[in-house]
Amino acid sequence: MNIGNMRSITKYTLLLSTLGLAALTSCSADGDNPGVEYAPQMYHSIAYEPLSQTRDKEAGKWLSNREDGLGEFYNSNDNNPHGMNMREPAPNTVQRTANGYLPYRIPMDSLEYAARVVKSPIEPTEQVLAEGMKLYTSYCAPCHGDAGDGNGSVGQVIGGVANFKGGAYINITEGHIFHVITQGKGRMGAHGSQITPENRWKIVHYVKQLQTK
């Protein structure tokens, strides 16, 4: 084999491998680029997938064999507002839970009534208090502080956070606490959508315990 021939072979190999490398480096994910998917049909759900939504009807058309002629990656429910894949519960329906809790219906401004009537369905056992402490740390401590004195790191920014040990709050009833967690009060927002009723009661029992410390 003469040298000239060998040179040209080396040249082509180099050129090809550089091109190949350039193509390969764009495979990995970085910033806005999710990278190349291997067998994309295995990644993209055909069934409606909560928390992911592809509204572009053309997405993945190049490999689509869907009967409706849309792109393979299209995943969006046109019957819902904003094409969402999740639905809000139907109006005027009641959620059934394992422990039989019914939705809390006492309106926000009826705090005094709730404080008088609402009673805890669970006992403050040791386990309930331990779980209450964990929940309190997650949901309440950012504002009310670990000790309940109203000086959590977020609370200091928001301001006006209740000190559970202050005179205005030391004697509040369990119904009062439950109502305020659920519906909010003053500067505090309603936390009913974030915390299940049972967990709210656990927090209530923990707060009552915290007040005696």
């Binding site: 491998s17 190949g20 490398l21 390969l24 480096t25 495979c27 990995s28 994910a29 970085d30 910033g31 806005d32 680029n33 999710p34 990278g35 190349v36 998917e37 291997y38 067998a39 295995m42 990644y43 993209h44 759900s45 055909i46 997938e49 928390l51 992911s52 939504q53 904003h82 969402m84 740390t137 997650s138 949901y139 401590a141 950012p142 004195d149 109203g150 000086n151 790191s153 977020v154 609370g155 920014v157 928001i158 301001g159 006006g160 209740a162 000190n163 040990k165 202050g166 005179g167 205005a168 003053g186 500067r187 505090m188 927002g189 309603a190 936390h191 959508s193 974030q194 915390i195 299940t196």
Partner: protein, 419 residues
Amino acid sequence: MSIKRSLTKVHVIAGFFVAMLALVAFSSPVQAQDIPSDEASIAAGKSLFGANCAQCHKLDQKYTGPALRGVTGRRELPWIKSFIKNSSKLIATDADAKALFQEYGGTVMPPHEFLADEEIMQLLAYIENGDKGGDKADADGAATDGGAAQSGDSSMPSEYLTVILVVLVVVLLLILIVLGLIISVLTKFLNDKKDLDEDEKEYINQKTDLKKVFKSEGFILIVTAIVVALIAKTAIDGLYSIGIQQGYAPAQPIAFSHQLHAGQYGIDCQYCHTGVEIGKSANIPSANICMNCHQHIKNVGGAEGFSPEIKKIYDAVENNEPIEWVRIHNLPDLAYFNHSQHVKVGGVECQTCHGQIQEMEVVAQHSPLTMGWCIDCHRTTDVNTAGNAYYDNLVKLHGDGNAMKVADIGGLECAKCHY
């Protein structure tokens, strides 16, 4: 004479001023001598203030409620007392109280009927006389604390490493220069010698022929080997990254910072990602959860005005439109993953899979989410069976004293995740 006269004049003027001052003092709503100023009262007032007022009031700064120092100069004592005891009652009847209530956004001050008159006087003693400049000192203290905490985070070892490297490079360069100098000195010295023959002279004055070096077989061989190795490594790395989204950090519709929320303010992950212990998905918080805090916080870092990023939450709520966050962790449709199973049952920390989220300004995918990565963890993680009587016997019968791994209770079975 004239000196005496002017002195009397001064006396008269001084007397006039004293009288005026006294008049001003007596005509102000609360008589100064009513407010105790002894240390004991101030200390008692301070603890009362801390327990009942500090959540909404500061002495010298506007907070949720007005700055309180000087309140006895602005209002009558009975007015102050009835506002403290039950502000709602007073607001209903008194125009001043109503104006104040509206000025501070209609936030109701809870009633403090449990406070005795004596305690209110102690409170006022603290409000008027206590902690002068205290708020500022507190704020400064907090600021320096934060600064110290942040500077403490920076990793010292990597800095040291860079310094050592730079020093090494400098030393090597110096050695090179010294060697070059030695060569030139030696060449000069040998050239000055008279008793050298031609061969020796040629040897001394030879120039390194770069072209020859580049064309030598050894050089070409080494360079080719290095280039091929590099290409092969990049190619293999590139091939392995296909289908792996590790490092994916897309721009989100709102420039939300986990570093600020979870890191600086220490808000628990579960506060927003409420589904993580009860369901398959951790959930992206709905706008009402953002609003629990952001109904009050409209800008970053206590700045005035309305941050355009925070305004996007308000727009979403007003228009009842979802915020379309970009999903980062896309597990292939062929694999099933359940958050509650790992977080609630397994007690796995969020950071184990998601990395140090609380330090991320923009969230990036930390883990490769490959099957090998899942399996590795299932093989090495102990099952926490403490307090679960079902497992006691199982551990006793099967284990040889070692804790069971996730793999031992079916963590490697295909159908656990693929079905």
